[in-house]
């Protein structure tokens, strides 16, 4: 892919097997929603956690069940722990969400290219997350807020199916009370208990404050949501080269050998998961590519 990469971290040396998971102990388990948990992992045996870039992912393995790609959702400035937020969507991810503190999981990675946050310096930043698109963006937000003065206005739009499906709620509440960013939370449908916005994330864009030509946008969520959001931002004048999004595909190996994650010429595991909208816009509009 033409997309510039952000120092993709390769796992292991040439002589090692790229397929071998390392054991990590589940230290804490936070129930996010009915089907989603966040797990805080510590490496077994006193090893360190490999450095990662916001937007990268790991292959997370449950003994006897299998492994799946999961984005890293923790703070890149906390090198002592590894945080993953997992939704039960299949046999393997379901088993991962049921792993209890004290139990061991396998991890290999980190893989892929991360969000190019440095491109947002001295620019307005728009972050749009849909559903479980927030966890892959959370490390970016931690990093951004750790150096808040480097960026101009920060707008976050976070959408979920219902109030019950909102994840990282503690963080969301913290961000809501900060004076140096604006956060809009919207849900597709809600009952009377919900006082917030109802509707798609794209409907919140007109209320966001940013100067389109001087804005960098980071999107993560269902493909349809990213496509419509990218179109809306582009229509407002955000350069297509300044819109970044994170793709999801079936993956078995995460190192470009199994072929599953191909999207046009790209291996999502290696050339992504983060792509520049300008580079992938055409592929985005082709059905079943």
């Amino acid at each position: 892919m033409a997309s510039e990469t952000h120092s993709a971290t390769s796992a292991g040396s040439a002589t090692e097997s790229p397929f071998t998971p390392e054991p990590y102990v589940v230290e804490r388990r936070v129930v996010e929603t009915a089907d989603t948990v966040t797990m805080v992992l510590k490496p077994a045996g006193g090893r360190g956690v490999p450095a990662f870039l916001p937007g990268q992912f790991n292959m997370v393995y449950r003994f006897g069940v299998g492994e799946v790609p999961i984005s890293i959702s923790g703070d890149p400035n906390r090198p002592d722990e590894l945080v993953h937020t997992v939704r039960s969507a299949g046999k393997i991810s379901d088993a991962l969400t049921k792993t209890l503190p004290g139990e061991t999981l396998g991890v290999r990675g980190p893989y892929g290219v991360g969000w190019p946050l440095q491109r947002a310096e001295h620019q307005d930043v728009v972050i749009v997350a849909g559903g479980l698109g927030l966890p892959p963006l959370r490390p970016l937000l931690y990093e951004l807020l750790a150096h808040r003065d480097r960026y101009e206005r920060v707008e976050i739009i976070y959408g979920a199916r219902s109030p019950k499906d909102l994840v990282h709620y503690e963080d969301v509440q913290k961000w809501r009370t900060r004076g140096d960013l604006r956060l809009q939370v919207t849900v597709d449908a809600a009952g009377r208990e919900w006082y917030g916005d109802v509707g798609l994330v794209t409907a919140r864009i007109p209320d966001a404050r940013f100067d389109p030509p001087r804005t960098v946008a980071f999107l993560c969520g269902p493909e349809i949501m990213m496509r419509l959001t990218a179109q809306a931002l582009s229509t407002l004048g955000v350069p297509e080269a300044s819109i970044w999004l994170s793709m999801e595909r079936n993956m078995k190996c995460a190192v470009g050998l199994c072929g599953h994650c191909q999207w046009g010429p790209a291996f999502v595991c290696r050339d992504g998961p983060v792509f520049r909208y300008a580079d992938v816009k055409r592929m985005f509009s082709v059905r079943e590519l």
Partner: protein
Amino acid sequence: MEELSVGAQRILERADFPRLLKALQSAGYRVVGPTVRDGAIVYGEVRAEQDLPIGWTDRQDAGKYRLERRTDQALFGYNVGPHSWKKFLFPSRERLWTATRTGTSFTVTPEKDDGPPMAFLGVRACELAGMDVSDRVFDGVVRDPGYHARRSRALRIAVQCGQAGGTCFCVSMRTGPGVRTGHDIALTEILTPRHYFLVDVGSPAGAAVLAHVPLKPAAKEDSEMAHSIVAQTAASMGRTLDTSGIHDLLLTQPEHPRWEVVARRCLSCTNCTMVCPTCFCSSTDEVPDLQGETVERWRHWDSCFNLEFTALHANSVRKSPLSRYRQWLTHKLASWQDQFGTSGCIGCGRCITWCPVGIDLTEEVAALRTAPTKAAAGGGAR
């Protein structure tokens, strides 16, 4: 015996051919090559020359493969069968590691391939090119340890094709039929006026084996004979594929109506991907023992024609056979170039021969060039 240098040519008499097998075996190689089984010439163990398809040839066309008797006793008088050397370098099933439960944790032991080195006997020029393509996949940015262990020790004894098959198009793909590079030893089987082999020394490893084989000096006429055999083969290709601008031709026409036409015939059976020497897609299985104490991670061939290949949550990205055929052909001929700097196709024709409904990629590409286009330059919004 004399010291052989790389690039030297010699004569191996037909009667001395078993000496080559013996030299390979004595050098510790597991010799694998063509052998007749189940009505086809497939690659398997070659312990003696009787294991070779002596006097057999193959007749191939779209969706058709038949073994026939030759009028002579050629050892390599066929083209390519349903197998490729991929089955040895990237086995259809391979254990990647074994994990054992240790208290609340587990330890993982990666698989180590320490089998004997293999000698591939009868590698066609297109297949040498195929291994080069596979090297870029498995031994490039990321090294597949099993592939690397087998490939780096394998000896490649090429045989130049003395005839072209009905589905061959190596000339179009510039991969054959002449053996140019990548071989340890190259043979040209010469059948008339007498049966012998012209031997090209391709590498020091090849020379080391040949040092134990009785060889005779080659004359200019022998070399010319080999040239004319290859030239004749090149002139009788069963198929042609126009590769000019093929990258953009495929990548810019995802909505071309021809995809619908071919999708109506495609059974999504995966045959083309199984027989293709360069198709590399795989999946993994987690295989626990009954006690759940030990688990093995197995990798097996997968195919982009399988519906589950792109499974994402409850759905698949490529649900229609159209999208899957388009993925396969576009990847093979176009996006492969972006990924690995080479076409994924070597022109061996296997996918044409082994397609049960006879879909012919050379025909599909020709149709993509000439058929009217609904959406000429890709895109076509949903």
